[in-house]
């Protein structure tokens, strides 16, 4: 979290690389959404303005557009810093891990929570350059602890995997309930 204080950098001139890219993108998205206000909300006859379904989306979108415009002007008017491309590339690099995350989400219902978690944490540890067996064992241990704590002890709602259906009866029930 950021907040006001002596430790925080302010966004005056000499902004961070990528600021102008983000400001422009946000402004365009705000204006596009604002242009859809009429299509994506309904006008209800006989209802006062503040109670119209469109009222609060309008408040949000007009505010977004107005502030985004001012923020954009603030990033463009002073001489912008360098490194916008490098920073944008950094943002795109995070998409790789979003894909890893979605792959994990996808395999859990197929192979089950415990095998999927073990597979995920060990593969991600390898991807991050951890090659030594102790580190990989720690990653696997961490995966087991997460599954046991959350599914086994706290009983969070995570369905059993399709793979569990092929296990012997007693073990299948145990795996479906706790792992």
């Amino acid at each position: 979290m950021s907040g006001p204080g002596p430790n925080r950098k302010t966004s005056g001139p000499g902004r961070r690389p990528g600021d102008v890219v983000f400001a422009a993108f946000f402004l365009v998205v705000s204006l596009l959404l604002l242009s859809q206000l009429g299509n994506e909300t309904k006008w209800v006859q006989g209802t006062r303005g503040f109670a119209q379904p469109a009222f609060w989306p309008a408040v949000g979108l007009v505010g977004m557009s107005l502030f985004a415009c001012l923020h954009f002007l603030g990033t463009v008017l002073p001489s912008g810093g360098k490194g916008h491309v490098r920073e944008t590339v950094f943002w795109f690099r995070s998409l790789e891990y979003a894909i890893w995350f979605m792959a994990y989400v996808w395999i859990v219902p197929l192979i089950g929570y415990l095998p999927a978690t073990l597979f995920f944490v060990v593969c991600l540890a390898l991807r991050n350059g951890y090659r030594d067996p102790p580190m990989l064992l720690k990653a696997a241990g961490m995966g087991v602890v997460i599954v046991v704590v959350f599914k086994g002890l706290l009983s969070v709602k995570i369905p059993g995997g399709q793979l569990y259906e092929h296990l012997p009866d007693g073990m299948r029930n145990f795996m479906l309930l706790y792992l």
């Binding site: 950098k9 979003a98 859990v108």
Partner: protein, 497 residues
């Protein structure tokens, strides 16, 4: 007395006691690991607490909230890296003091100051609760609407130098809260004919994305760091005695913490800034600040630890969260159909009092735990950051997926994760998005219900509390415009508001 006993009875259960220990000790450990922090932990644990009793779930979350800043002081002092964002100011004097050969003294002072701030805040909360029980019922729809509006205004203006971006992100939060089926006329808003958007964008999905997944992505994309703090020797109780020599600074800082914590949208940073400035201006040795001044360390740690209990005041009394962590806790109340606000004080004061007692106890548990286990915690500070990223990602999955077993929620959370990463890289504030979402929803409902009895705009502020809050909003905006204008004039019209 009956009230106190009834509250104690609520807490005297094994599951509540376990929650208190797990929350407070877990919070210290989480706070001590740079890159995690209370927001990430609370976001991850939130769905798991939905199946618990409200008092158990809230005790875990309060434990994490109230104790993480204690833990955050450890890496701030020893390796110059704050464990949580609010410990950043602690590095100013804590780290130089450790570098000068006094790490034990610095940690001991930080723990003692944190303890003082925490206890001072809980006592203030208890003393204020009778007053709140009287005032809160006078808050009708329009007063709550205006208080929520004040929260939005303050969260935007509190980000000095980033007002435009904070305003933009708060409005984005308001917009996000409106997506889906509108609750009164049942019309769809911004669903683009997609069924998965009809039920709206879940606050927890946004919170998990913005806080937990974004942090995981950030740690994974950045290179590995493996901090190596040394062992701490010396008694860690000595700080309590040393703190007695700085009673004035500690009391004023704790008061700033309580006051700023109570005002929605302001929070720890302003309280710390005011406390630190006060400590420096009134010190006999102002030049020592930033080089290991004990008053600086005390001001920072006392102020930030006084916030959690105080931040519960607007949440419990009015149902208005003042910052992201209490916004997350609000969802625990709603899930269990416990609606915070004036009625909670009128009908369930024992529940409120039980939360206060839990806050009080957690401060004691944490202090005792830290005195005996600081060196053990230091081993956790050494976890490589990319490994930590993997851990947060795996835990983030539990948080999002266990909500509704929805792949769409996970995809949305991943999207907000990337968005949060961009905000963090640009040092733009994340909190206004969450507060915009929560307070926007409150404002929509309250404006609708209050306007039924309002004929002219002046009727809206014809009650004393409503008029007072409205006056406060005008005053805050006026002061901000005035100081911005003065600053721009001084700086030759080069900086933004």
């Amino acid at each position: 007395m009956d009230l106190f006993l009834s509250s104690l009875q609520m807490l005297a259960r094994w599951d509540v006691i376990a929650a208190l220990f797990i929350g407070s000790i877990g919070g210290v450990i989480i706070g001590a690991i740079p890159g995690v922090g209370a927001a990430v932990a609370i976001a991850i644990l939130l769905p798991a607490t939905f199946s618990m009793d409200p008092i158990v779930g809230l005790t875990v979350l309060l434990g994490i909230y109230g104790s993480s800043m204690y833990g955050g002081a450890i890496p701030a002092i020893l390796i110059n890296t704050p464990g949580t964002a609010v410990n950043a100011l602690t590095t100013y004097d804590g780290h130089p003091m450790a570098k000068n050969g006094n790490p034990g003294r610095a940690l001991s002072l930080a723990y003692s100051a944190s303890f003082f701030g925490g206890i001072f805040s809980v006592i203030s909360l208890v003393l204020l609760s009778q007053l709140l029980a009287v005032i809160a019922p006078h808050f009708g729809s329009r007063e709550i609407f205006l208080a929520a509006l004040l929260g939005i205004v303050l969260v935007v203006l509190a980000h000095r130098g980033q007002v435009f971006s904070a305003g933009m992100l708060a409005c984005f939060g308001i917009f996000l809260g409106t997506v889906g089926l509108e609750p009164v006329k049942y019309t769809r808003r911004f669903t683009f004919d997609q069924t998965w958007l009809a039920s709206g964008i879940d606050l927890i999905v946004v919170v998990l994305g913005l806080f937990a997944l974004s942090q995981a992505f950030l740690l994974l994309v950045q290179g590995d760091e493996r901090p190596r703090p040394g062992r701490v020797t010396g008694g860690l109780l000595a700080g309590l005695k040393e703190l007695l020599g700085f009673k004035r600074v500690a009391s004023v800082s704790a008061s700033f913490g309580v006051l700023m914590g109570m005002i929605p949208g302001v929070g720890e940073f302003t309280a710390q800034f005011l406390s630190y400035t006060y400590a420096q201006k009134t010190s006999r040795e102002p030049d020592r600040f930033g080089k290991g001044a004990p008053e600086g360390l005390i001001a920072s740690e006392t102020a930030n630890n006084a916030i959690p209990a105080a931040a519960m005041i607007p949440l419990l009394a009015l149902g208005i969260p003042g910052e992201a962590l209490t916004a997350m806790m609000l969802s625990v109340f709603y899930v269990h159909n416990v609606i915070p606000g004036p009625q909670l004080f009128a009908n369930q004061l024992d529940f409120v009092m039980a939360l206060y007692i839990a806050l009080f106890l957690l401060n004691i548990i944490v202090l005792v735990f830290l005195i005996f286990s600081t060196n053990g915690i230091l081993r956790l500070v050494r976890i490589p950051t990319r490994f930590l990223g993997t851990l947060i990602l795996a835990l983030g999955f539990v948080g999002v997926y266990s909500l509704r077993n929805s792949m769409t929620d996970c995809a949305m959370a991943a999207g907000f994760g990337v968005f949060g990463l961009i905000l963090k890289r640009l040092q733009l504030p994340v909190v206004p998005v969450v507060l915009g979402m929560v307070l926007g929803g409150i404002m929509e409902v309250k404006l609708r219900s209050s306007m039924a009895r309002v004929k002219t705009p002046l009727d809206f502020i014809d009650r004393p509390i409503a008029a007072m809050i409205f006056g406060l909003i005008v005053l805050v905006i006026g002061i901000h415009l005035h100081t911005s204008w003065k600053r721009r004039k001084r700086n030759g019209y080069t900086t933004g508001p």
